[in-house]
């Protein structure tokens, strides 16, 4: 029997990983580096969101309304008006983008100009990660921040959690559905759809695909590859920001924890990269699928192992599961899920499926 509560929290966690893996893959496909600092961008965004929401709540004299209202779908609690949450989403996205662009323009691009190899670039992202962590530490221990976040939201900056202020639904049957579940699931679907439209139905998408496939050739065709890379970084920062926003409201989903200068970035960094690698580091849709896969696997595989071995602490080994999946992927299918789907055998299988209007044997 599938426990709905486990499913909803796991979906939230899996969506966060999908967002992070997507961000990591976007950067790998363009700038050709594994951005170690990526999960920390989410923390920056989370703090930004919390700060702006706190300031907004104070200036608009908002008070949390934790009284559930009876509706047709059950008891719904909406602590704050939509504008409140909107402020958070925007702040998270903007700051995610800013932190990402600073990394690109101040650090990575100059290094690339000096001919840095992948190792130096990776280490540079590590250094940026350290600096961000220190900055976040200084931020969350700052007096002004402490006071801003405590009134009226009563948040602790060093262990930030806005789960209490999330929209929630309790159905007739007693099932608890967190607002973040709906938000993160909808976001994952919408993002995948939007990316598909962008990449395959717009001119910009064509330019992006060309720039990723063969950057010098794209230049020859008059495409400003530099600008495309900047757009990739903006998208990467935005997805990190959205992930941070979700993390803020879902501090107990999967391996997520209350926000601090180190959590949950340090805990989930390996899982995020696992999602990217398992999906196939050169595939945007692969990364989304990979992140979702890792997220669900961490919970459900450990659950399965727990049932088999009877070992109650099995859930602690979630990260071991991710690592095992990565190891298997690298050993047997190094191009990830996307690579598997693109293999000749898969193509033959897929081309047998009748799809109206699709020409046989061609295309991507």
């Amino acid at each position: 029997m599938v426990d709905l509560n486990v499913f909803t929290t796991t979906t939230i966690y899996a969506s966060v990983l999908a967002l992070l893996s997507l961000g990591i893959t976007l950067i790998y496909m363009t700038t050709r580096v594994f951005n170690f600092a990526h999960p920390r961008l989410s923390l920056v965004a989370a703090y930004a969101a919390a700060t702006f929401m706190a300031i907004y709540a104070r200036s608009a004299h908002l008070k949390p309304n934790l009284e559930p209202a009876e509706t047709s779908i059950g008891y719904v609690t909406v602590p704050f008006p939509a504008s409140f949450y909107l402020v958070g989403v925007v702040a998270a996205t903007v700051f995610g983008v800013v932190a990402a662009l600073v990394e690109y323009y101040a650090i990575l691009k100059p290094l690339l100009r000096r001919g840095a190899d992948y190792l130096k670039l990776m280490i540079a992202t590590l250094a940026y990660d350290f600096i961000l962590m220190a900055v976040l530490f200084l931020y969350n221990t700052h007096r002004a921040v402490k006071s801003a976040l405590s009134n009226p939201l009563r948040l602790t900056p060093t262990s930030l959690s806005m789960t209490a202020y999330d929209v929630s639904i309790v159905t007739e049957g007693g099932t608890f559905i967190a607002g973040m579940f709906i938000f993160s699931a909808a976001l994952a679907v919408a993002l995948a759809a939007a990316l598909y439209l962008l990449l395959y139905r717009t001119t910009l998408g064509v330019k992006m695909r060309a720039s990723i496939e063969n950057p010098p050739l794209a230049e020859v065709l008059g495409i400003n590859v530099e600008r495309i890379y900047a757009i990739a970084w903006i998208l990467s920062g935005a997805t990190a920001g959205l992930a941070g926003y979700i993390m803020l409201f879902a501090t107990s989903a999967g391996s997520l924890k209350p926000i601090s200068a180190t959590s949950p970035a340090d805990e989930i960094v390996v899982s995020a990269f696992a999602g990217s690698i398992v999906g196939g580091v050169n595939s945007i849709f692969g990364s989304i699928a990979g992140g979702l896969l890792i997220g669900y696997a961490e919970t459900y595989v450990t659950q399965l192992l727990q049932a088999i071995t009877g070992y109650p602490e099995m859930f602690q080994y979630a990260r071991v599961v991710s690592m095992a999946i990565v190891a298997l992927t690298l050993l047997f299918a190094p191009s990830g899920l996307a690579g598997l789907l693109r293999s000749p055998r898969a193509r033959r299988l897929l081309s047998r499926i009748p799809v109206p209007g699709r020409a046989r044997g061609g295309g991507r």
């Binding site: 100009r113 000096r114 001919g115 001119t203 064509v206 330019k207 060309a210 496939e213 063969n214 010098p216 050739l217 794209a218 230049e219 020859v220 065709l221 008059g222 495409i223 400003n224 590859v225 530099e226 061609g362 991507r364």
Partner: protein, 238 residues
Amino acid sequence: MEEPIIVVDKVNAGYEKLQTLFDVSLEIPRGKITVIVGPNGAGKSTLLKTLFGLTKVYSGRITFEGRDITRLPPHERAKLGMAFIFQLNNVFAELTVKENLRLAGHDLPASVLEERIREVFETFPRLRERLDQKAGTMSGGERQMLAMAIGMIRKPKVFLIDEPTAGLAPKLAREVLENVRKLNEQGYTIVLVEQNVKAGLEIGDKGVLVVSGRIAFDGPAAELLARKDLAKMYLGIS
């Protein structure tokens, strides 16, 4: 005499801190085939890449149709009318011939694009046969053909071609150079870097010899070919 389409004026260039071109001055005549030859590592490819903006220019000036393009990024030069054909990876290997040509005309109105594709097929009929074939699976010579076709879609004024016959068997190499000549017949100015000196200079109008990053000869291709002393010393022909 007609104005040269590209003028290189006392250019010093290289890759980051490594300088490979020293005080290079050169004129590319419009509508002709200019062939750049020289020993390995002399700077032939660097010169070509410098014309397109792929290297770092320390000093000097490059103009295109009178306009200073020294600091202009490559994609802007492409928009002005320069086409660069790389030695390797010069087509989108994962895409079909048709998709490559469509991609080449990504910013053109559909009717114009269709028209240009038809023109391409007139010059290179073999590509029409390979329309749905993945570019990466074509032979070296066919890929060079496609690379030129991609350039043609954009109706540039100049083709900069980097060692198109490298790694090809002699028969294919001749075919490729024949295609270069066909391009020139359509009115395109060609700047060609060629390893195969004799064959290159034979189709060329102007010949340029680059040795150790400097111009050692700049004049009619036939004359360069006839210069036994230079040929023996630098090009290994006797």
